[in-house]
Amino acid sequence: MSNRIDVKKTYKLFINGAFPRTESGRTYEVKNAKGVFVANPCLASRKDLKDAVVAARAAQPGWNKATAYNKGQILYRLAEMLEGRRAQFVDEIASITGVSKVKADKELSDSVDRLVWYAGWSDKISSLSGALNPVAGPYYNFTIPESMGVIAAIAPETPSLLGFIDVIAPIIVSGNTVVVLASTKAPLSAMSFAEVIATSDVPAGVINILTGKKDEIAPWMASHMDIDGLDITGLATKKHAELRIAGAENLKRIFSFKSHDPARILAFMEAKTVWHPIGL
C-alpha cells in the first residue's frame, strides 16, 4: 500500500523546441477505450498554428543546410531514443486504444523500424530521383530534388504512433520543417514522442506538434500563405475537396498517402534544374 500522491503528466504542445500550453488556455478530455478519463491535452487554436509556423519557418534554412548524413543521423537518433522508452509508449498505446500489449509492442517496433528506414533515405533520395538530363548543347543539365519549405500535416487517428511517424519522417528527412496536428482521440503517444524529439538533437522548430480538433485547425493550415505543402493523410476523404480549394488559392501542394514509400518524401520536394557549360 503506497501513500504516494499520483504524479500526473501534463500534456502540452511542442513548439520551437519548447513545451508551451495553448495560448487559448483550452483543453479537451481524452478517454481510453473503456471510456475512462486519461488526460486533458491542449486544444490548440489557430494562433498556436501561427506561432508554430513562425518557428518552423525560422528553423527551415538551418535544417535544410544540414548535410544529408547529419539529417539521417538525427532521424536514427530518434529511433534510438524511442527504443529506449519502449515500456512507456507500449503502456500509453495499450491504455488509450485498448489493444493488447503484444499489439502495442508490435506498433512500437514498427515505429522504430520506420524511423530507421526513413533515416536511410536521407542521402539516397536525390540519387534516386535526380537526373543528368540529355540536352542538345554543350551543357551538363542536372535535375535535383530540394526541400519545399514549411509543411503542415494532419496525422491519422490510428495507429497513433506509427501513423504519426509515417507523416513526419518523410517530410523532415529532405530538409523541410513540419507543423503536425496529432491524432485527436489518441494524442498521447505523439506528445510523448515530443520528449523523444527534445532529446535527439533535432534543432528547435524542425518538428512542431499541436493537439486539437482537425476541423478547427485544418482550414487554417490550407489557407496559410506561409505553409508550402500540406499532408492530409489523417483527414476524412470527404473533407479533402474543401481543403484543396483553399490551398489552391496559395498554390499549396496538398497530398494524402496510403502507404510508406519514397514517393512520400518526393511529394514534398521540388525539382531544381541547373545548366552548367561543359569544358569550363
Binding site: K50, V53, R57, W220, S223, H224, M225, D226, A246, E249, N250
Partner: protein, 315 residues
C-alpha cells in the same frame, strides 16, 4: 533660456530640481506594465491600432553596411509601406545615420514623400563618446543635409557619475542648434541607466533642457524599450505636462518587433499619458522589422488567412 522656470541653468538648481523627484516604485511599475500588457485589442480597434502604429514608425536603418540603394529602398517603403494597398498610411519618419540624410531627403521628395520626416542620429551615436565640438559639428552636418529630426544620445558616463549639469548643457546646446529647423529627440540608452529612478531623472532633465521627444534607446544595447521603462517615461511626460502645459513626445526604440508588442505600447500610452499622445507628433516607435509584421497582420485582417513574409519587402 527659461527652462520652463524649473531650473535656472546652474548646477545647484538642477540638483534641487532632480532631487525633488520621487523614486520609482520598481515592483509597482513592473506590475502595472505587465497588467497593461494583458489587454486584448481585437477587430476594429486592432485595425485602428495597426494603422496608427504604422503612422508612428520611425523606419530605421543604422548599419555600417548601409548603402545609398538601401536607404532609397527604405524611403520608398516609408512612403508606401505596401505599394499594392494605397489605404496604408506612410510611416512617421525614416531614421538614418548623418551621412545618409541628404540621400534620404532627396529621395523622399522625389517620390512624393514630403510629409515623411528624416531623423538623423547625431552627437557621436551610439556611444556619445566624443568632444562637444565634434557633437556640434555632427548635428550641424545633419541639419545642413536636411534632417527634420535630430536623435541625440546623452553622455551616460557623465549622467551615471552625477554630472547632471554636463548632460543638461549638452542638450541645451544641441537644442539651440536645432532651433526651429528640427525636432530634438534625446536618447537615454535606458539599458545603461540601470535603475528606473535614473530613467525618471533623465526624463525630467532632458525635458527641462528643451527636448521635444525623449527616446529610450539606440537599439544597439539590450535591454532596450522594455514596457516598464516606457511606462516610467510616459508618466514623466504626463507629469511634465501638468507642471508646464507642454506636451513632450516619447519614442521607444529597440526590441519592438511584432504587432503585439506595438499594440502593447499603444495601450501603455493611452492608459498612462492619455489619448492626446496617440499621434505621430507625440509618440513614435523606432523599429525596422516591426513594419513588416504590421503589414502582415493587416493582410490577415483583410484576407481572412495568415500572410507570409514572402509577400512583403525585406527592407
Amino acid at each position: 533660456m527659461s527652462f520652463y522656470g524649473l531650473v535656472d541653468g546652474t548646477d545647484a538648481s538642477l540638483k534641487r530640481y532632480l532631487d525633488a523627484l520621487p523614486g520609482v516604485d520598481q515592483v509597482g511599475a513592473d506590475a502595472r506594465a505587465a497588467m497593461l500588457a494583458t489587454r486584448s485589442i481585437k477587430t476594429t480597434s486592432k485595425r485602428w491600432a495597426i494603422d496608427t502604429a504604422i503612422s508612428m514608425v520611425d523606419l530605421t536603418t543604422l548599419e555600417g553596411a548601409d548603402t545609398v540603394g538601401k536607404v532609397q529602398a527604405l524611403c520608398a517603403k516609408a512612403v508606401r509601406p505596401d505599394p499594392t494597398d494605397l489605404t496604408i498610411p506612410s510611416v512617421g519618419a525614416v531614421c538614418v545615420y548623418n551621412d545618409m540624410v541628404a540621400t534620404a531627403r532627396t529621395h523622399l521628395d522625389s517620390i512624393g514623400g514630403h510629409h515623411v520626416g528624416v531623423a538623423a542620429v547625431s552627437t557621436a551615436f551610439p556611444s556619445g563618446r566624443a568632444s562637444m565640438a565634434v557633437k556640434i559639428q555632427d548635428t550641424q552636418d545633419a541639419l545642413n543635409a536636411g534632417a527634420s529630426e535630430i536623435d541625440m544620445v546623452i553622455d551616460r558616463g557623465a549622467f551615471l557619475s552625477g554630472q547632471y549639469i554636463d548632460v543638461f548643457n549638452e542638450i541645451v546646446e544641441i537644442k539651440e542648434l536645432c532651433g526651429d529647423r528640427a525636432h530634438l529627440k534625446v536618447i537615454f540608452e535606458t539599458g545603461e541607466l540601470v535603475t528606473y529612478d535614473n530613467v525618471r531623472k533623465a526624463s525630467f532633465l532632458a525635458m527641462a533642457a528643451g527636448a521635444d521627444f525623449i527616446k529610450t534607446s539606440t537599439g544597439k544595447v539590450a535591454p532596450a524599450a522594455t514596457a516598464p521603462v516606457v511606462l516610467v517615461m510616459l508618466e514623466a511626460v504626463r507629469d511634465f505636462y501638468s507642471m508646464t502645459k507642454t506636451r513632450i513626445g516619447v519614442k521607444p526604440a529597440g526590441g519592438i518587433r511584432n504587432t503585439k508588442d506595438a499594440i502593447k505600447q499603444l495601450v501603455l500610452v493611452n492608459e498612462t499619458a492619455g489619448p492626446e499622445w496617440l499621434t505621430p507628433s507625440l509618440f513614435r516607435i523606432g523599429a525596422s522589422a516591426l513594419l513588416n509584421d504590421l503589414l502582415m497582420q493587416r493582410m490577415k485582417m483583410d484576407d481572412g488567412y495568415y500572410a507570409s513574409p514572402a509577400y512583403v519587402t525585406i527592407d
